[in-house]
Amino acid sequence: MKFVDEFRDPAAARALVKSITEIAGDTEWKFMEVCGGHTHTIYRHGIEHLLPENIELVHGPGCPVCVIPMGRIDDAMWLAEQPDVVFTTFGDMMRVPGSRGSLLDAKARGADVRFVYSPLDSLKIAVENPDKHVVFFAVGFETTVPSTAVTLLRARTLGVKNFSVFSNHVTIVPPIKAILESPDLRLSGFLGPGHVSTVVGIRPYRFVPEVYGKPVVVAGFEPLDILASVHMLLQQYAGGRCEVENQYARVVRPEGNTAALKLMAETFQLRPHFEWRGLGFISQSALKVHDDYADFDAEVRFSMPGVRVADPKACQCGEVLKGAIKPWECKVFGTACTPETPIGTCMVSPEGACAAYYNFGRLHRETALMVGQGAPVG
């Protein structure tokens, strides 16, 4: 595989790591990458082991699959099992365990569960199957809300009667605030979410330096982006600055995507509160389908059980999502809880910290360094 592009250049990486190591000195640094996409990049490219040992990357709550509580999965399965319902979902939600198994299990038991790549695909299924009711399982941060919003708009324009959205959309700022409020965390700064910021811009993070005195650098998803962002965070400290910076300026505009934000405001509204897996209820942290679109709101059209299910006892996902413990510190990590038999959500999504660590990161630091720096064969 040839990665010719400028964002994966090993020489540039070495230069950055050298500079990072110098600025970092021997202070202990703890930076949280908010976004699951970053967690995935960090492990997929072995970045943890490239950084000096005194820089720790703490994996944050920005994995949309990881934060969905059990009760919502149970509701999703209940919906999927209703007669004449076609339940559509993104692929990686299929394996998330509820209290009675996952959507994959529901499918194996006969429910019509299909995975789609976009909510518009799901609307297409509705148009093609007028005798079925098609539900779209909407998950994700502000990144994926616009596409659901567009779909709602299109459904209304087309006058589709057999389509609804089960919204589990969440917003990124409230959990960051919750983490900053939590007493047991000593973070030095944040790698801000890249994709989310393309929509919301970089202004919503200003409270982090202003109120909590921590720098934020909105980061891209290529391995060099991560290193460059860590570098920028350290440079803020070195220069006595504390602010929101944008490393991902090639994609993220400071004001975000105003058209998308407007569309979101038309089709969605804030819920008073929403339960996050492991983090509990966070107020104004999630979106429901707007009252104007109630006909397309699965929560209005169906009376779901809506039961709150306690997380499994063994599960420490909340601690992992807050960055309070490393994935491997969870007691069931890698034994009772594996990607094959996940107990918690962080083990399901490839962006979840537990899955990323299990799938990619399970190497002794020295082994990793030796293998990584070994001469290429051949």
Binding site: K2, F90, A108, L363, T367, L369, G372
Partner: protein
């Protein structure tokens, strides 16, 4: 490289993270558990769930030494001392026609390739058809013609067969099962136990073409790309390789589960560590682009005309040259090496200078959101 210690030794007090790692490795070595009550799609995807199903249901019921090797084909010794390879496979691909091939040539190539990587010269094939009521006879004729052409290309004969028709709705068009028999020339010994630290891994060409072609051909992705399946017989390539590199230790065709799964099977069966070099993996740029876009790791995407071979380091160069001189082998490359340590683990060296694990895949590769 192999003289260096890769895992903490017993007399050293491991840190808590290492202890977790050791516990996980012990856990991974256990037989995969079968926890499900009903068969799910994951049981057919070639990863850990498939292994669990096969192990707990079929091996349990059929147990015998030939079966327990769980190779691509059984190696059977005749009373005369000659050895045969015997293999079988079912083909249920949807759609049954796709860019670069169809269920017909897959059914021939798949079985031919299973025999070839067992070290055999494939000779005879059987074909059984399960056909859904309503299937077009013209289409059937066309597919039979394609099977014949594939058999001719691979130098095998279709010598026996069976046909069943099931009611409309009881099958998805057409399923084909082929079995094949090949003769293993005297003196050919291929086994994971022959693999040694320092050996090189070779792949016979670009990876991930077939799986990506199928994913796109299903048509529910809004991606237009020119990707063709790599469906092809590899017996010619295998013969060229074995002639050039007689020390070849082991081979396997990288079908379902892709290169990553084959590398893991090797690491586990041989009790060695395997390092793959991401920068050396031959992959078509369009295929790589699609994988990136879908968040799918190309090392887990299926191939239908590629195999992985382990050869001694000093034969690697001639082996690759021999493959490259053959039709279909132009992209053959050394892609990694075998280490003594850490046993059972496949690691990927990224072009970025980092390292990651390549584990067995769980279930089908599902595209990520966003």
């Amino acid at each position: 490289m192999t003289s260096e210690r890769l895992t903490p030794s017993a007399h050293e007090v491991p840190d808590p993270e290492d202890r977790t790692r050791i516990r996980i490795e012990e856990f991974r070595k256990r037989r995969p558990r079968l926890v499900d009550e009903v068969v799910t799609m994951a049981h057919g995807a070639g990863g850990k769930s498939s292994a669990a199903l096969v192990d707990h249901v079929f091996v349990e019921a059929f147990r015998n030494p030939e079966l327990e090797n769980l190779g691509d084909g059984a190696v059977l010794a005749l009373p005369t001392g000659e050895r045969l390879a015997f293999s079988t496979d079912s083909y249920v691909v949807a759609p049954y026609e796709f860019p670069g091939g169809s269920i017909a040539d897959l059914a021939i190539n798949g079985t031919v390739n299973d025999l070839a990587v067992s070290g055999a010269r494939p000779q005879w094939i059987s074909a059984a058809f399960v056909i859904e009521e309503g299937f077009s006879i013209d289409k059937l004729k066309q597919l039979a013609g394609e099977m014949r052409a594939a058999a001719d290309a691979a130098g095998v004969q279709i010598v026996t067969g069976d046909t069943k028709v099931v009611p409309n709705g009881a099958a998805d068009g057409l399923y084909i099962t082929t079995s094949g028999v090949g003769v293993i020339p005297a003196g050919r010994e291929l086994s994971p136990l022959a693999v040694r630290a320092g050996d090189r891994l070779i792949v016979s060409g670009t990876i991930a073409d077939h799986g990506m072609a199928i994913m796109l051909a299903r048509g529910n992705l809004d991606i237009e790309a020119d990707i063709e399946s790599d469906s092809a017989p590899v017996n010619g390539l295998v013969e060229a390789l074995l002639a050039a590199a007689p020390g070849t230790r082991w081979m396997r065709d990288a079908t379902r589960g892709g290169l990553g799964t084959v590398a893991n099977e090797l690491a586990q069966a041989a009790g060695v560590g395997v390092v793959l070099d991401e920068g050396l993996l031959p992959i078509d740029p369009t295929v790589l682009g699609c994988c990136d876009m879908l968040g799918i790791d190309p090392v887990y995407v299926a191939n239908e005309g590629k195999f992985v071979a382990v050869v001694p380091a000093d034969e690697a160069e001639v082996a690759v040259a021999a493959l490259r001189s053959q039709p279909g082998g132009a992209q053959a490359a050394v892609i990694g090496e075998v280490l003594a340590d850490p046993p059972g683990i496949v690691a990927m060296r990224t072009p970025f200078g980092g390292t990651r694990i390549v584990d067995m895949l769980v279930g089908d590769p599902l595209p990520r959101i966003c």
